[in-house]
Symmetry: C2
Subunit: 416 residues, 2 copies
């Protein structure tokens, strides 16, 4: 088995589990920081390790455009490319195509779009999106879906959901036929040069070698032959509970090792998000990981864990940090506020992160007001620490059987 999910404890609808992937284990529920182009903006990989990040998300759309899938494939996959030896998940590119690119045109075949970088024309189909994700070599990859716009009429949402289901089947079929092309088998560029050969005019990795060595020699990770990526399906269905249910049921019929709920947090009111998650999650199998894409605030990630969600990702902690909005156990702090100019206290007296252990609010305020690079790095490290600590407390509470109705969100996440 290349991918396995085990549930270790339950508390109400919440579960504490463990995912086994080719690049290591992940304790769930887990928050996945977003490393869009192969970097969590401003934070070096050793700091991510110290923070206890277990799995990162990379955006296929961005890496496909720059540096390109073939570059990363030749370098041994995205883990080796970014010198990150722990698990990575790539999204399908679907959401970014819809939110970032210009002049997109959606057909049954796929999506024609123009790069937000240079306007060049590109095309993503279920097949090419999966091919890209195989080339990048993340541990968990996502079926290509259409993220239905919000608001959308019922008929339009239903059509979109149906196409996402057909695309999911095509994604699965392509993956089954090409999953051996993952670049981990090659031992870096030098070996890759020998192992790659042109087949039918396309570069293809030949899985002869069962061992990978990092170029620095510091980290050795072995991927026994037969280790495979896991392809997750994605539930769509817009803001209609019956479509969410139908999408969940029919995606499950396609049989994936994990299921995501997509197309939420796209501008709808929060109670509607809660309702849609509830409508879908009850039809997802108990023994497979459930991934809610693109959420949320600290309060929300606690809420969704309580609903039985196992995986979440969001740009909020990192993006907010870069704009000086910091999450603390005492509430949110806008660090540019003049009141912090002579505040020698730590950002969050209840936080054990390196930023709170060393620097004062006065210094962080000065860095932000002075538009210094270090502000972005320190703010981001702290916000990630806050999210990861929150999720660790959630998991500990589930394992201790104390995450039921008796434990309020405000105890796990006191700042909200």
């Amino acid at each position: 088995m290349s991918f396995r999910f085990e549930i270790e404890a339950r508390d109400g609808k919440a579960r504490a589990g463990r995912m086994f992937t080719p690049h290591g284990e992940v304790e769930t529920p887990v928050f996945m920081p977003v490393g869009t182009v192969g970097t969590v903006k401003g934070v070096p990989q050793d700091v991510l390790e110290e923070l206890g990040v277990q799995i990162l998300l990379n955006n296929t759309y961005h890496l496909y455009l720059r540096p390109g899938v073939e570059t990363i494939r030749r370098l041994g996959g995205v883990q080796r490319f970014m010198a990150w030896d722990r698990p990575i998940l790539t999204d399908s590119g679907g959401f970014q195509v819809f939110s970032l690119s210009d002049l997109r045109k959606v057909t049954e075949e796929g999506v024609a779009f123009r790069s937000h970088l240079d306007g060049a024309s590109h095309f993503f189909s279920p097949e090419s999106a999966i091919a890209a994700q195989i080339g990048l070599g993340a541990d968990i990859i996502m079926a290509f879906d259409e993220c239905t716009e919000h608001p959308a009429e019922y008929a339009r949402t239903q059509d979109s959901m149906e196409m996402t289901l057909r695309w999911a089947a095509r994604s699965k079929k392509y993956f089954a036929e090409h999953r051996n092309e993952v670049p981990w088998f090659a031992g870096g560029l030098k070996s890759a040069k020998n192992l790659y050969r042109r087949q039918n005019g396309r570069a293809k990795a030949v899985p002869l070698q069962s061992e990978g060595r990092s170029k620095s020699g510091e980290v050795e990770h072995v991927h026994p032959e037969g280790q495979r990526q896991a392809l997750f399906g994605i539930v769509q269905g817009g803001m209609f509970a019956d479509l969410r249910r139908e999408s969940a049921q029919r995606t499950v019929e396609l049989d994936f090792p994990g299921y995501a709920i997509g197309g939420l947090s796209v501008g709808e009111p929060r109670p509607m998000t809660y309702e849609m998650v509830d409508a879908a999650i009850r039809f997802l199998p108990e023994d497979k990981p459930r991934y809610l894409m693109g959420v949320g605030t600290p309060e929300e990630i606690v809420h969704y864990a309580a609903q039985g969600v196992d995986m979440m990702d969001c740009v909020l902690p990192t993006r907010a940090a870069r704009h000086g909005l910091l999450f603390t156990s005492q509430g949110r702090i806008t660090i540019k506020n003049a009141r912090y100019a002579t505040d020698e206290g730590p950002l969050d007296p209840n936080c054990g992160c390196k930023v709170c252990a060393r620097y004062s609010r006065a210094y962080l305020r000065h860095l932000y007001a002075s538009k210094e690079l270090l502000a972005q790095a320190l703010n981001t490290a702290h916000n990630l620490a806050y999210y990861l600590d929150t999720m660790r407390r959630v998991r500990d509470a589930i394992c201790a059987g104390q995450f039921g109705d008796s434990l309020s969100v405000s105890k796990i996440c006191p700042g909200e």
Copy 2:
């Protein structure tokens, strides 16, 4: 004694020494990274410690404008403000007033200038520049000088040099009368609140307390009562060897614990810089540290160490890093070059820094091409490692008696 300098070894004109300052020892010759507004752009303080940075330079002009001297004084001085427990040197602000500010007007009294940030009017005199540096509380501070523009006629250069000498005497006098006002005596903000009192309408620190505790409790540093900043004089004299000699001799007559050579690297050809350094340094006392301001390339810092310079600072390694120019044992690398797009080798195979140990040129090239924040942080950390390693090799060679004519610059600094 608050400041002491000991020479441990000599090799030709080069010396290996040790400076003792209130915040610790510094092995010389030393390269001081520039942390303009209280941060080496993009590099956290723990990384600077890991790199072996022994002393930082902060710019008085920048800190005076933002966050302001009184803010830093109330927070216990710039070391505590930036959570850096090792020595710091501040420049006098003279160079920045001349190079950055608008509408400056120089008189015998001082320099009226407008802030480059908001155009507000300010005035630096020898007295106010020293007052600012006492408030910031660096271990080593600099006399207020006029950095003579280049090119300049002989008479103009002589007049400027004479004024710098008068300003040096005024700087020394003000420092002698106010050196007890350094903020180290107060134990952080809470103590400072009690210790500060309004005297004649100006905040003044009262040195009652001999011990300082860091707010995090992690680092304890004690500054016994009587520990004092060291005020260095600055040699000017433009590009005229006889004026450099006269400036050196008459600055030495004023008697400072250390001497800087200023007003060089302002656009003149390099052989002229070498000549001016030589003209001045032979008249500086053997038993005092010599600081050449604002230099240089890796090759140049080796050259100046060979001429008997003990301290140097330069924005080159940090600024070049932010523009993708990297110093390596194999020569300079422009990391954005497409040839590095699939280069899985380390930036510098002979470098032991964390960046070279972990990341590939391909990844660093991708970060730079994608304008990612992490590019700045990693590039800067590497360039600083290269400079600091170069200076360590110089010092080791001096101590081993192998830094004479027998050891060429190219062995110390093979990439140049």
